[in-house]
């Protein structure tokens, strides 16, 4: 078992007196895919943004590679070694696909223009969108935009990539494709992935470990197989929700319209 790359302990966050995270603790192991699942409004995105430093937690500790990122130097090191893939991709619509991917290299490294171009094209090639290098994000399909956002996230060769609801708003086929893409590139490039999602089945299949966040607390943390076997009523309800929906829809269809 590899050592934890990211350790979160006792994380709390309140908004206008309402507690969104109540003492959340997680261990994300190096080179693994870790998914945080839970219903909408459970605080998943807030948790991810607190860990990534976008939001400031009220209390708790975050350790990256054994170091708490409390001082500016540790935070800068954390930023350099991590990437974030936003729910809405957050691509720069006035830049081309190539310029979008090159941006973090241009602004955070001292590589030459030739090296930046080569690495950016390489990232686009890995994500199979090199033909779209000169197009703007608005001219790309939803799936291609997602791949472009991932290309931008991996071009700096990060050790940890945060995925905030990577399949939000996508149809089931595209959802599968996005999770397959994450799993494939995670294996290929070796980064650690922390995914926040409400797509239970895809997350369970793709992840090494999962955590269920409900009401600002971690209700479960363990391997995907353990999640399937758990007898906890909340987990059972969440796990069975897909089947419940299926049977509800079937009963509506079979019922007499009059």
């Amino acid at each position: 078992m590899s050592d934890p790359l990211l350790q979160v302990s006792g994380l709390c966050k309140r908004f206008d007196g309402r507690e969104v995270l109540s003492g959340v603790s997680l261990d994300v192991r190096r080179g693994s895919v870790f998914s945080v699942i839970g219903p909408s409004g459970a605080g998943k995105s807030v948790l991810l943004k607190c860990i990534a430093g976008i939001l400031l937690p009220d209390s708790g500790e975050i350790r990256f590679d054994g170091r708490p990122w409390t001082d500016a130097a540790a935070r800068a090191d954390f930023r350099r070694r991590c990437s974030f893939l936003f729910q809405n991709n957050a691509l720069f619509d006035s830049l081309t696909a190539l310029e979008n991917v090159a941006l973090p290299l241009e602004q955070t490294t001292r590589l030459s223009n030739r090296e930046i171009r080569a690495r950016s094209l390489d990232a686009l090639r890995q994500l199979e969108i090199e033909d779209a290098a000169d197009r703007h994000p608005g001219q790309l399909s939803g799936g291609m935009q997602k791949r472009l956002a991932l290309a931008r996230a991996i071009v700096t060769r990060p050790e940890l990539v945060f995925f905030d609801e990577p399949t939000a708003g996508l149809d089931p086929l595209r959802r599968n494709a996005v999770f397959a893409m994450i799993a494939r590139y995670q294996r290929q490039l070796g980064f650690t992935a922390l995914i926040v999602t409400h797509d239970l089945s895809e997350a369970l299949v793709t992840s090494d470990r999962v955590a269920l966040l409900d009401g600002g607390r971690i209700r479960f943390e363990g391997a995907s197989e353990e999640f399937f076997q758990s007898d906890d009523p909340v987990i059972r309800d969440f796990r069975d929700s897909v089947q419940v929906l299926g049977s509800t829809v079937a009963s509506i269809r079979n019922s007499d319209p009059s």
């Binding site: 976008i54 991590c82 957050a90 941006l103 973090p104």
Partner: protein, 263 residues
């Protein structure tokens, strides 16, 4: 009465805290010059936006301002038989006051509002947050190039405004009203001193930094808009950017003018 005092106090505290916040924003944007990467390319793009794209409006407004000044000035001076001083009137009005103020207001209307809206949309679509997660200094990347460009572009646009305005004054006074062009241009030459040019330059640079920073501040903080969210927040931020910049131009113009008048 109690409620009015409470409201006044709250608004005053809010205004002071926003002023402090703005000062930190401006300081951070200027400080970012030191660590900003690949700045020249971004400054060039900002020069294109504030310079080339705003050139037509500067030329048109400058020409009409000069023409109106020439027309009004000729009729007033003619009553006293002093139409020979038309060049003095037009040049001093333009160089000391109208060129820096009107050029700044035109640039706020076109480039400043566009900057506030662009940054507001970038804030709303998490592009600014994305920059921060990449470890990029968002002020250095988005605001600093615009401030540097403003230091360069505002004086140039002001000079162009004044030049075209002088030509407009000559068009009205000489071509339409029949004043000898030599008289007009020689009075222009005699009227403008180095102090007037210094005042004009200082105003242009100050207005450039101030209005660009105000517009950028409003766009950058569109998510903190108290009265609206989403697209309406961007719209409100753009409106406030133009309103606050225009007020700042007129207020600072008064301060600089009073300083130069005394000296």
């Amino acid at each position: 009465m109690h409620l009015v005092v409470q409201l006044l106090g709250r608004q005053t505290l809010f205004a002071i805290s926003r002023l402090g916040d703005f000062a930190l924003f401006l300081g951070g944007s200027l400080r970012a010059v030191v660590g900003a990467r690949r700045l020249p390319r971004r400054v060039l793009r900002a020069v294109y936006e504030q310079g080339a794209l705003c050139l037509p409006v500067i030329l048109i407004v400058g020409a009409f301002t000069g023409m109106v000044l020439g027309l009004q000035g000729y009729h007033v001076l003619n009553r006293f038989g002093s139409e020979g001083l038309l060049g003095t009137l037009v040049s001093l009005s333009l160089v000391r006051e109208l060129a820096p103020v009107l050029a700044a207001l035109m640039l706020v209307g076109q480039a400043g509002s566009a900057l506030a809206a662009e940054l507001g949309i970038q804030r709303n679509s998490e592009q600014i947050t994305a920059l921060e997660t990449m470890g990029v200094d968002s002020l250095g990347y988005l605001v600093t190039p615009r401030l540097l460009s403003a230091i360069l572009v505002f004086p140039l646009q002001t000079a162009l405004f004044a030049a075209v305005g002088l030509w407009g004054g000559s068009l009205s006074g000489s071509v339409l009203m029949g004043l000898e062009p030599g008289i007009y241009w020689s009075s222009v030459e005699r009227a403008i001193g180095s102090g007037d040019l210094r005042e004009c330059f200082l105003k242009a640079v100050t207005f450039g930094i101030l209005t660009t920073a105000i517009c950028a501040y409003h766009g950058f903080n569109a998510h903190r808009c108290r009265s609206a969210t989403g697209a309406r927040a961007v719209s409100a931020s753009t409106t406030w950017a133009v309103v606050h910049s225009s007020i700042a131009v007129l207020a600072v113009d008064y301060v600089i003018t009073s300083f130069f008048v005394r000296s």
